[in-house]
């Protein structure tokens, strides 16, 4: 029954990331698949970073929201391959990040065959300030309050901000 399938997917799509509550799991690109058969729902998600503690909460939130919508048989599965990439964050997700003061990621690095190059200097990537839109920003630290973000500072408006780093 197509209408019920769409409903289950619509419910799953409303669940938000516990650490980035402006983003739904669909915005973030971690919601791979929602299938429904005779009332049983199977949701497939993919981890962002392997150690991200938000994954457990996402699973629980999916189950809770689907239960609340009347789906009592809910199975949340993990798929590791292909690995999640920030390229899967939707345009809506990027807009919401910027509105929340978090600079959205640029394109994820494309890996050629052979050894992975070492980056010893500051990253060449230009990141615009989500407050004043200036391109004149510096990276303070590649790691910030969560694994997925870097800490930056705008030299034009002097505001610090976070950048969802390319992954």
């Amino acid at each position: 029954m197509v209408s019920i399938l769409l409903d289950a997917r619509a419910v799953a799509e409303t669940v938000t990331d516990p650490e980035l509550p402006m983003l739904t799991l669909a915005d973030l690109g971690v919601l791979r698949e929602v299938t429904e058969s005779e009332g049983a729902v199977v949701v497939t998600i993919t981890p962002t970073y392997t150690g991200c503690p938000a994954m457990d909460t996402m699973r629980d939130d999916l189950v809770r929201e689907l239960h609340a919508a009347g789906y009592h048989d809910v199975d949340v599965r993990t798929v590791l391959h292909p690995a999640w990439s920030t390229d899967w964050i939707t345009d809506a997700g990027r807009r919401k990040l910027a509105e929340a003061g978090i600079a959205p990621p640029g394109s994820a690095p494309k890996r050629a065959a052979g050894p992975i190059p070492l980056t010893l200097g500051p990253p060449v990537r230009r990141v615009r300030c989500p407050r004043c839109d200036s391109p004149d920003t510096d990276e303070i630290s590649r790691f910030s309050a969560t694994a997925c973000k870097a800490l930056r500072r705008c030299r034009a408006c002097s505001e610090p901000f976070e950048h969802f780093k390319e992954f």
Partner: protein, 293 residues
């Protein structure tokens, strides 16, 4: 979800956000964990423990910098690197329990094995001393791990291959972080260079062990599952040479640290430091094996 106060938030029922003994679920939930045809499940489990224990124990050493790092940003960075490695450990320890058919879970592997059952290389277990030493150890550890994981992405075990593919993305960031600090300290003041060189010299005796082939690895290399660590040496040396050159540091010339009757970390023979780590890591779950909070 919203709460009126912080206490309400932490006393919520069925809360899966808290660690040991609560609702942490199988991180491989829904993943096909059958063992590929022609692969020995016990060998695969042993190999997963090797790579998982490397990540778990390195993560523990990185976490010790929380509240102790020279700058707040580095405390956050080291904790994040530790968290990524802990995530890799969770998947690998879980994979081990699926591969050997025991269904032993990640907590049981981390908290209820004794020292001789841990398969990590000794490099990751030795105590932190100063920041430069820890950076030298991290640089060596993640440079080697990145080469290893990159080759493991074509493993005949699809679960290991998928774990490795995720790990490659994470460890690429870790290696840049450690390398940039090595350059900052090495090419910094005369004093910082001296400390960075001393750190590198102190950790170097444990480098040789990283490239030794264990019999379990040898069998799994045959089966297309594992990576021969000996084959990583060339890339490792090239990356280290690039970092050391930019950092004005010199490659240490020190003898490798021997094992005990030829046995080393991969055989479960560890340094004095290992017992202390396990005491800290395991004492609470062992004292209160049924506890939840």
């Amino acid at each position: 979800m919203s709460f009126d106060n912080a206490y309400e938030a932490i006393t919520e029922e069925n809360d899966a956000r808290w660690a040991f003994g609560t609702g942490f679920e199988d991180p491989l939930s829904g993943v096909d964990t059958s063992v590929p045809r022609g692969v020995d499940g016990d060998d695969l489990a042993a190999y997963c423990l090797m790579l998982g224990d490397d990540a778990l124990i390195m993560s523990h050493r990185l976490q010790e910098w929380c509240t102790n790092a020279p700058e707040l940003e580095d405390e956050v960075a080291l904790a994040n690197i530790g968290l990524d490695l802990l995530g890799q450990a969770r998947l690998l320890l879980t994979r081990a329990g699926k591969a050997d058919g025991s269904d032993r879970d990640e907590d049981s592997h981390a908290f209820f094995r004794d020292e001789r059952e841990f398969r990590n290389v000794r490099l990751v277990e030795v105590e932190n001393s100063d920041f430069a030493y820890s950076i030298a150890r991290l640089l060596i550890s993640v440079t080697w791990r990145l080469s290893l994981l990159q080759r493991l992405t074509t493993s005949a075990d699809p679960v290991l291959a998928a774990i490795a593919a995720k790990g490659v993305k994470e460890v690429t960031y870790h290696r840049d972080y450690a390398a940039q600090w090595a350059v900052r300290l090495g090419d910094g003041t005369e004093y910082s260079r001296q400390r960075m060189q001393a750190g590198l010299d102190a950790v170097w005796p444990l480098v040789g062990e990283l490239f030794e082939l264990h019999p379990v690895e040898a069998r799994l290399v045959e089966a297309g599952v594992a990576v021969d660590p000996g084959g990583l040496r060339e890339e490792f040396d090239a990356v280290l040479a690039q970092v050391l050159s930019a950092a004005t540091l010199t490659l240490p010339e020190v003898a490798p640290r021997g094992g005990v009757a030829g046995k080393r970390g991969r055989d479960g023979v560890h340094t004095e430091a290992m017992g202390f780590i396990l005491a800290e890591l395991q004492s609470i779950p062992r004292a209160h094996p049924e506890a939840t909070w």
